[in-house]
C-alpha cells in the first residue's frame, strides 16, 4: 500500500492517469460509436423489423398459422420455413389465401415490399431457414446458360409446368401454375422452398448455377415471340384441334354451303 500511495504522489502520476482515462474513454467511445453504427444498430433495426413483422403476422396470419406460427388444423407451421418461403408466398400474393381452395393462387400481393420483408424477418427469427433474395442478387443473365437451362427444365419442371412453362393440372384440383411473368427471385425461392405441391430442389439436386440457367431459359421462353404465328396458348394439340374444327372446318363447310347455294 505504501508503494502504491508513493506512486500516487509520483510526478508522472497525473499525466499517466489522464492519458489512461482519456484513451479508455476514447476506446470506449469509438467502440460505442463505430461498432453500434453497424452491428448493434442493425440488430436494433432488425429487432424493430421483427417486431413489425410479428405485429403484421398477428393481425393477418395468426388466425390460421397460430399465434406463434406453430400451425394449426388448416395451415402448416411456419417455424423453420425461412424468409424465402415468406417472400415467395406473400410476395406473389398467394398468402394470405383468398379462400380455402385446394391451392393458393397467384394474385396481386396484399402486403407492400417492406411489410413482406418484415413478415419474412419475423418468420426467419423463429428458426433458421432459407433466406430470401432480391432480383439483383440472382445473376441469371450473367451466370445462366439458356440451352442447359432448357434441358434442366424439361428434366425437372416440364412434367408439371408444361413444356413451355404454361402450367398444368395435378390431381384433385391442384395445379402447377404458369411460370410466365414470374420474378426471377420468386422462381428461385420456389425451387429452394418447394411451395404447395412442388418439391424442394436443393442445391445438391440442382446447383445454384443450374437454377440460374433454368431461370434464364424461362425468361427466354417468356421473351420468345411466337415464331409460328398465334401461339394458341402453347398447350399442345388440344387448342390446335379446337381451332381446326371451329375455324378450319367451320369455314370450309360454310364455303361449301355458299358454293352449292350459288348454283341454284
Amino acid at each position: 500500500m505504501k508503494k502504491l500511495s508513493s506512486l500516487r504522489k509520483h510526478k508522472f502520476a497525473l499525466p499517466v492517469l489522464i492519458l489512461v482515462a482519456l484513451s479508455s474513454l476514447g476506446f470506449t467511445f469509438s467502440a460505442a460509436t463505430a461498432a453500434p453504427a453497424k452491428s448493434q444498430l442493425a440488430a436494433s433495426a432488425k429487432s424493430t423489423l421483427i417486431a413489425e413483422g410479428k405485429e403484421l403476422f398477428l393481425k393477418g396470419c395468426s388466425s390460421c398459422h397460430g399465434l406463434n406460427a406453430e400451425g394449426g388444423s388448416i395451415a402448416p407451421s411456419l417455424i423453420g420455413v425461412g424468409a424465402a418461403s415468406v417472400d415467395f408466398q406473400v410476395g406473389t400474393g398467394r398468402m394470405p389465401m383468398a379462400d380455402m381452395s385446394q391451392q393458393a393462387m397467384r394474385k396481386k400481393p396484399l402486403y407492400t415490399e417492406e411489410q413482406t420483408a418484415a413478415l419474412a424477418a419475423y418468420v426467419a427469427s423463429l428458426a433458421p431457414g432459407p433466406a430470401s433474395l432480391t432480383n439483383e442478387e440472382i445473376e441469371w443473365e450473367r451466370d445462366g446458360n439458356t440451352a442447359e437451362g432448357g434441358e434442366l427444365f424439361r428434366n425437372n419442371c416440364a412434367m408439371c409446368h408444361n413444356f413451355a412453362g404454361q402450367g398444368g393440372a395435378l390431381t384433385q384440383g391442384k395445379y402447377a401454375p404458369t411460370i410466365m411473368g414470374v420474378e426471377p427471385k420468386h422462381i428461385y425461392e420456389a425451387m429452394i422452398t418447394g411451395p404447395q405441391s412442388m418439391p424442394v430442389f436443393s442445391d445438391k439436386t440442382i446447383t445454384v448455377e443450374e437454377k440460374l440457367s433454368i431461370i434464364k431459359w424461362i425468361k427466354a421462353a417468356e421473351a420468345e415471340p411466337n415464331l409460328g404465328g398465334a401461339s394458341l396458348g402453347r398447350v399442345g394439340p388440344v387448342t390446335e384441334g379446337l381451332l381446326v374444327w371451329t375455324f378450319g372446318l367451320g369455314l370450309l363447310i360454310g364455303i361449301a354451303v355458299w358454293l352449292a347455294s350459288k348454283a341454284r
Partner: protein, 530 residues
C-alpha cells in the same frame, strides 16, 4: 371458224386419232352430279390429301429420318449445343433455316388435321343419309379403311420430328403394343428393333409415312372415286329425282370450275392457318429423351378419344403364368377401338339384315325418317365426344377451374350413361320431326297471321305447301316390321331360330315411325278449312 378454233380442232383431232379418247371424254365430261354442300365434304378431304402430298414432298427434301446423335448448331439459340437426333435437328433446320420451311411444316400439319376432320364429317354425312346402302357397301368399307389409315398416317407424322411430344406419343403406342397378351413384348422388340426407343423406329416409320401409306392412300382413294363415278352419286329426294336418274349439273363446265375453285379455297384456308397459327412448335418441346415428359401431353385430335379412353380406364391388371395382362390398356387401347371400328365397318350389312332390304338405293334418306339409324349415330358420336373430352382433361381442368378427377369421373359414368341417353333423345327428336312434317303436309305452314271469322272465332291462317315440297316430305317409304315366322305352314320350326327372333325384334324397333300422311288424308283436308 376462226383460226384459233381451227388450231384447237387440229390438236384435238391429232390426239383423238391416236388415243380414241374423244368419245370417252365427251361422255364423262357430260356426266351429271347432284348439287349439295354436304356432297363437298369428301372433296375437302381429297384436296387436303393433295396439299399433304405437295407440302410433304417439300419437307422430305430436308428431313433426315435418322436417330444419329448430333449437336445442334442451327440458328435457334435456346437449343444451341444441345444433343439431339438428326431427325429433330433437321426438323429445326426446316423450321428456322429453310426458306418457307416453317410455313410448309405448319401447312402440312394443319392439312393433316383438316384431312381427318373432313373424313369424319364426310363419314357422318354418308352414315346419317344412308348413302352406304346397296350398292355402296364396298365404298363404305374403303372409307373406313381410309379413316383407319388416316389415323395411323397422322400419328406417324406426329411421331417423326422426334421432339418431346412425338416421343411421348411413340412411348404410349409402345405401351399399347406391349399390352397385347403374350406377343406384346415380342412385337414391341420387333417394331423398335430392340428396347425402346432404339435407333430404327424413326427411319422405319419414315418409309411407312412417306411411301407405303401414301401409296395405299392413292390406290384406295382412286378406287373410292372410281366407284362413285361408276355407281353414280346419290342424291337427296325431291321432285323429279328417282332411284333411276341423277338430277344435277354436268361435270364440264360446272363442276370443273366448282371443284377447281374449291381446291384453291381449301388450299387457301390451310395456308392461312399455316401462316397465322402456330402448330406443334417443336422447338419449344425440345428433343425427345425417354426420361422427360411435358404436362398436358396430348395426341392430335383424331386420337384424342383413344387417349381419353386410356386415361379413364381404372387400374386393372391380371398376373398369370409369369405374364401381366394390363386390362387398363388392353381394353381402352385395343378392344374398344376394335369393337367400334368393326361395328362401323359391318353396319351396312347389319342394317340390311335388320330391315331385310336388299334393293339398290340411290335416293338418300332424310335422317329423321330413319330414327334408329340416326339415334345410333348420335349415340356413337356421344361416345366419341365423351372420350375426347377426357383426352383433354388436364387442359380442361386448368382452363375451366375443374379438377382432373371430376372430369375423369364424369366421363367414366358419362361414357356409359350418355350414349344410350343420346339414343333415346335423338330417336324422340326424329319422331317429333316426323310428326312436324306430317302436320306441315296436312295443314301447311303456320303463317302467324290471326284472322277473326264473322262469328267471332279466331283462326291462324295456314299456307299450304307447294306440291314439290309435299312430295319431298312424303316420298320416302316407311319401314315395315319383319314378321317372325316361328313355324312354317307344315309346322316345321324356323331353322334360323334365335336369329329370326332377333331380326324381328330389331326390325320392329326400326319400324317405329309416325305414319306419313296418305294421299287420301291430304285430299280430305284440302277440302275442309285449315
Amino acid at each position: 371458224m376462226t383460226a384459233r378454233e381451227r388450231v384447237a380442232g387440229n390438236v384435238a383431232n391429232y390426239v383423238d386419232e391416236r388415243t380414241g379418247a374423244a368419245a370417252w371424254i365427251k361422255k364423262n365430261l357430260n356426266k351429271v352430279f347432284p348439287d349439295h354442300w354436304s356432297f363437298m365434304l369428301g372433296e375437302i378431304a381429297l384436296y387436303s390429301f393433295i396439299i399433304l402430298l405437295l407440302s410433304g414432298t417439300f419437307l422430305t427434301f430436308w428431313f433426315d429420318p435418322s436417330m444419329k446423335e448430333v449437336t445442334y448448331e442451327g440458328s435457334y439459340l435456346p437449343l444451341k449445343d444441345v444433343e439431339m437426333s438428326a431427325a429433330y435437328a433437321s426438323t429445326l433446320h426446316i423450321s428456322f433455316d429453310v426458306r418457307g420451311g416453317l410455313l410448309m411444316r405448319q401447312i402440312h400439319h394443319w392439312a393433316a388435321l383438316i384431312f381427318m376432320a373432313a373424313i369424319v364429317v364426310h363419314l357422318l354425312r354418308v352414315f346419317f343419309t344412308g348413302a352406304f346402302r346397296k350398292p355402296r357397301e364396298f365404298n363404305w368399307l374403303l372409307g373406313i379403311g381410309l379413316l383407319t389409315l388416316g389415323i395411323v398416317e397422322g400419328f406417324l407424322g406426329y411421331s417423326l420430328p422426334d421432339d418431346l411430344l412425338s416421343g411421348t406419343g411413340i412411348r404410349i403406342a409402345e405401351a399399347i403394343i406391349q399390352a397385347l397378351p403374350v406377343v406384346g413384348s415380342y412385337l414391341s422388340f420387333f417394331a423398335f428393333g430392340g428396347a425402346f426407343p432404339g435407333e430404327v423406329f424413326i427411319p422405319r416409320i419414315y418409309t411407312v409415312h412417306i411411301l407405303l401409306l401414301p401409296g395405299i392412300f392413292l390406290a384406295l382413294i382412286t378406287v373410292h372415286l372410281m366407284l362413285v363415278w361408276y355407281q353414280k352419286h346419290t342424291q337427296y329426294p325431291g321432285p323429279g329425282r328417282t332411284e333411276k336418274n341423277v338430277v344435277g349439273y354436268p361435270l364440264m363446265p360446272v363442276y370443273m370450275a366448282k371443284a377447281g375453285g374449291f381446291f384453291f379455297i381449301v388450299f387457301g384456308v390451310t395456308a392461312f392457318l399455316g401462316a397465322v397459327a402456330s402448330i406443334n412448335p417443336i422447338w419449344l418441346y425440345g428433343p425427345y429423351t425417354p426420361g422427360q415428359i411435358s404436362a398436358g401431353s396430348q395426341p392430335d385430335w383424331y386420337m384424342g378419344w383413344l387417349d381419353g379412353l386410356v386415361r379413364m380406364a381404372p387400374p386393372l391388371e391380371t398376373h398369370a403364368f409369369g405374364h401381366t395382362i394390363s386390362w387398363n390398356i388392353l381394353i381402352p387401347g385395343l378392344i374398344i377401338p376394335g369393337i367400334l371400328f368393326t361395328g362401323m365397318a359391318l353396319y351396312p350389312f347389319i342394317e340390311s339384315w335388320i330391315t331385310g332390304d336388299k334393293r339398290e338405293h340411290h335416293l338418300l334418306d332424310r335422317p329423321r325418317n330413319v330414327p334408329n339409324r340416326t339415334a345410333l349415330g348420335a349415340m356413337s358420336l356421344t361416345f366419341m365426344i365423351v372420350s375426347l373430352i377426357n383426352g383433354g382433361n388436364d387442359i380442361i381442368a386448368t382452363h375451366f377451374d375443374l379438377t382432373i378427377n371430376q372430369i375423369m369421373w364424369f366421363t367414366r359414368f358419362g361414357l356409359i350413361i350418355l350414349p344410350p341417353l343420346a339414343f333415346v333423345i335423338t330417336k324422340r327428336i326424329c319422331l317429333s320431326l316426323q310428326r312436324a312434317d306430317r302436320e306441315l303436309v296436312l295443314h301447311g305452314r303456320e303463317t302467324g297471321r290471326l284472322v277473326m271469322l264473322p262469328h267471332g272465332e279466331f283462326v291462324e291462317v295456314h299456307e299450304p305447301l307447294s306440291a314439290e315440297k309435299k312430295w319431298t316430305l312424303t316420298q320416302h317409304e316407311q319401314p315395315a316390321a319383319i314378321e317372325l315366322v316361328q313355324t312354317d305352314k307344315g309346322g316345321v320350326l324356323n331353322p334360323k331360330g334365335i336369329r329370326a327372333k332377333l331380326q324381328a325384334r330389331f326390325s320392329a324397333a326400326n319400324a317405329e315411325v309416325v305414319a306419313k300422311p296418305t294421299p287420301d288424308e291430304v285430299k280430305q283436308l284440302e277440302g275442309g278449312h285449315h
